[in-house]
Amino acid sequence: MAKSRKNAGKPHSKSRTGKKTPARKSRTGRGRRRTGKSGRRLSRIVALLVFLGAISGIYLLYLDHKVRTGFEGKRHAVPAQVYGRPLELYPGAKLSPGQLEAEFQRLGYRKVTYPKRPAAWSRNRDRIIVRTRPFAFWDGQESGRYLDLGFRGGVLSSMVDGNGRPQALVRLETPKIGSIYPAHNEDRVPVVLDEVPEILIDMLITIEDRSFYTHHGVDLKAILRAVWANLKAGGVVQGGSTLTQQLAKNLYLTREKSLWRKANEAVMALIIERRFSKDEILSAYLNEIYLGQDGNRAIHGFGLASHFYFNRPLDELDLPRLALLVGMIRGPSLYDPRIHPERAGKRRNLVLDVLHRQDVITAEQKNRAAKAPLGVVSRGKKGGSGYPAFLDLVRRQLRRDYRPEDLTSEGLRIFTTLDPEIQQQTEISLSERLQKLEKRHGLPAGKLEGAAVVARSEGGEILAVVGGRRAGYAGFNRALDARRPIGSLIKPVVYLAALMRPDRYNLVTKLSDEPIHIGGRDGSVWSPRNFDLKNHGEVPLHLALSKSYNVATVRLGMEIGLKPALELLEQLGINRPVQAIPALFLGAVSLSPLEVAQIYQTFAAGGFRSPLRAIREVQAADGSQLQRYPLTVRQAAPVGPVYLLNRNLQEVVRTGTARSLSGFLGDQLNVAGKTGTTNDLKDSWFAGFSGNEVAVVWVGRDDNKPAGLTGAQGALRVWGDIMRRMAPVPLDLPRPESVEAVWIDPVSGLRADARCEGAQEYPFIRGSAPETKAPCVAETDDPLRSLFRRIFE
């Protein structure tokens, strides 16, 4: 429609200029009347020729300009490559043979009977032998190695090299997790001509363009041959395009089939040949040729195609695989080995035949290759990355430091913190558990959604981000963008604010859980209630948190005030404005799972906040380091009170609202955490940490209708699944110097000793424990007896 309207406008404007031209012509025409008729015709022809010449000259200049800028521009437009964390191998590492196998698969290492070449491995029960690929890290080259690895009970127990020498530490290369390519969806893994297998070049020239090194862009003989062959066959069976013409087509032209385009292609091929060397043309061809489609991502170039179809670099492809790719040039969708394996196989063998007839390969090579399987790996998730939510985060963090065009064209290498293993386990945990929850609670199928973030407690590196239950698909990234009320997840902030005043609050301070009514400025009255609708009277502070009593929390919050709570929240890394209302104490603040993870990371790291990071380093295409995103810590809260809080959060899991976690993890891990549930069961949250990792899970519905699950019924279970799959280390909290342990009588909340029935030791900021002794402490306090008790207890 738009086109036709534009065209409709053109004749009109032409006719207007047309009115002027005759007038001008008539003036010059008067003078020329004297010359003869033939002279007039000649001069008209000359003028026309000059005119046409000028037009085509201008057009040629235009094409030339297009060729040069396009060629130069495309040659440098290399999308940023994004890598996950490198796997560190060392004796003692928590790693099973199966997990290592999965990593090999991600890296495209082949399973063989004995690895003779790099990127190959073999396994015999608990022993794996591997030859690694060399890899250029930002801080130096990791050379290719031969490693003999022994496993025992889920642990890498020994690692020796080819000479039997024990190795302390080896860093595997980083798995590629995606690339950042521009909006027109051209992904690319660039290859350098010198590093391309020679046989591939021979193949290309033999199959596609035998006179490549002698023609000037167009091969007339080849065209005639093709026309003849096509006439004979009554259809298009052969193309006469040179590699240069194919390149022109890929670089500058659409896929439409017309004579005009063909002509353009030929002219541009001639220009390309004038402007660039054969090697440059070949190199561009290798990187530009279209070889398939992955959703809306176009697969251009042999480098990317090699990864896309075989999950390994081009220089590791064998003859049959290379022949398969070369065969696909004619029709990437027609010969798609995943969709039409038989057709693709036939085409490959045809290629092999031709190669043999042209003496490029021997008969034996041909026969062996023709028998080989296609070797195509099953298609990964759509869009070239299985990690859309994590890549989304990477892009956002990069956007602060880089221009979009740098990311999509400068060939940056981005080293991230993603642990593909943990990512995968987290995805599975979420999707499977949500399905089970829907069944178990009779909820409508497919309505529950969820998100999860897993990070290292120390340093804040993000290990996994799951943005929804269909994690492989890009879409609404709930981990970053779903901001929902966090409910009781806020309570630890309130309690920490209290514990930061040891003169007034400690873990056994009695709090009132009696009903409270708070008047708002508009005259309304807010009367918070407990989840069980009961009034628990006087409760010790630690119990109010572990049982998540709302009323006691609001009372505590009102005592300490909104300002300290808000300030602490900011210290913990929440930068967005938060409404200062009493309901804040019960979580009337909407945050994303990622933001919540930042708060709990600070708890998990003993009060030291590390901004959650998805990126470690950015490297330029030439290998030089552009930027590091270093490990940083900032003390957001004093060590002692955070320690008390974390002990309290362990109690939440041991005996409080999250005790059902023991069904997932047992009692030995001592994990700390907090459940969160919002009004009408709309949001189900769980946030917590083990010895090394902090994780946050949200479960709810996109339409904000009740999900029908409490924090313990929903998110906690997903969290438990995630942790169980990660086999975490126990949470051992080192007691800070500023903290002492004091026996407390649970009945009176006063100082007791070990003799008191049911007395327990609680941590206190030194000097803040109650001085008054409980009645159970005998008046005849015999220091000798108590000393004996302490020693032999």
Binding site: E88, Y90, D139, V155, A168, R647, Q760, I791
Partner: protein
């Protein structure tokens, strides 16, 4: 009262060997965990489990001398080489790698603090030394070194009041 005091002292002297023997035994799994396999670590954690859950506040592990697992020791050596070659950025990278393997090793955090101080990133160095202190347990020597490092960093940053305060803290550990 006056009679019992000498008796108590004698008793303490007598029982000291018991205490001295029992303490390392209790703490040995923790002290070894750095160098032994995580598989063993899990077992030892299970062994300690019931004792921990029976009381709200578990026993404190006794301070350990600098002890690194094999890979961490290798990385710290690497960091030393890089430091000698004046490639402090690379050295920082190596120590960060070590921290991924032993995230709660106070000595490794101290090392990172030191490198940051050497780079002139004083605020960072102070925070990292504080972090090291939070994990140092009863390792008085390390705590003192951290306070000294903080004092140096404060002084270099021109904050002499904080430097003096940190020095006082360091002296308390002499």
């Amino acid at each position: 009262m006056t009679n019992t005091r000498p008796m108590m002292i004698w008793l303490i002297i007598l029982t000291l060997p018991i205490g001295a023997c029992s303490t390392p035994m209790r703490s040995s799994p923790t002290a070894h965990s750095a160098s032994s396999l995580p598989g063993d670590q899990d077992e030892s954690a299970q062994g300690r489990g019931p004792a921990q859950t029976s009381s709200y506040e578990p026993q404190v592990a006794v301070a350990m001398s600098p002890q690194y697992s094999m890979p961490v020791a290798a990385l710290l050596e690497e960091a030393s080489r890089q430091e000698t070659a004046n490639d402090l950025t690379a050295a920082v990278g190596s120590v960060e790698r070590a921290l991924r393997i032993e995230p709660r090793n106070a000595h490794v955090w101290h090392r990172l603090a030191f490198l940051r101080m050497k780079q002139g990133r004083h605020a960072m160095a102070v925070e990292l030394a504080a972090k090291s202190n939070s994990l140092a347990g009863g390792d008085a020597e390390l705590v003192r070194d951290n306070w000294r490092l903080m004092a140096r960093s404060y002084r270099a940053a021109g904050d002499s009041a904080s430097a003096a305060a940190a020095e006082r803290r360091a002296k308390a550990y002499r």
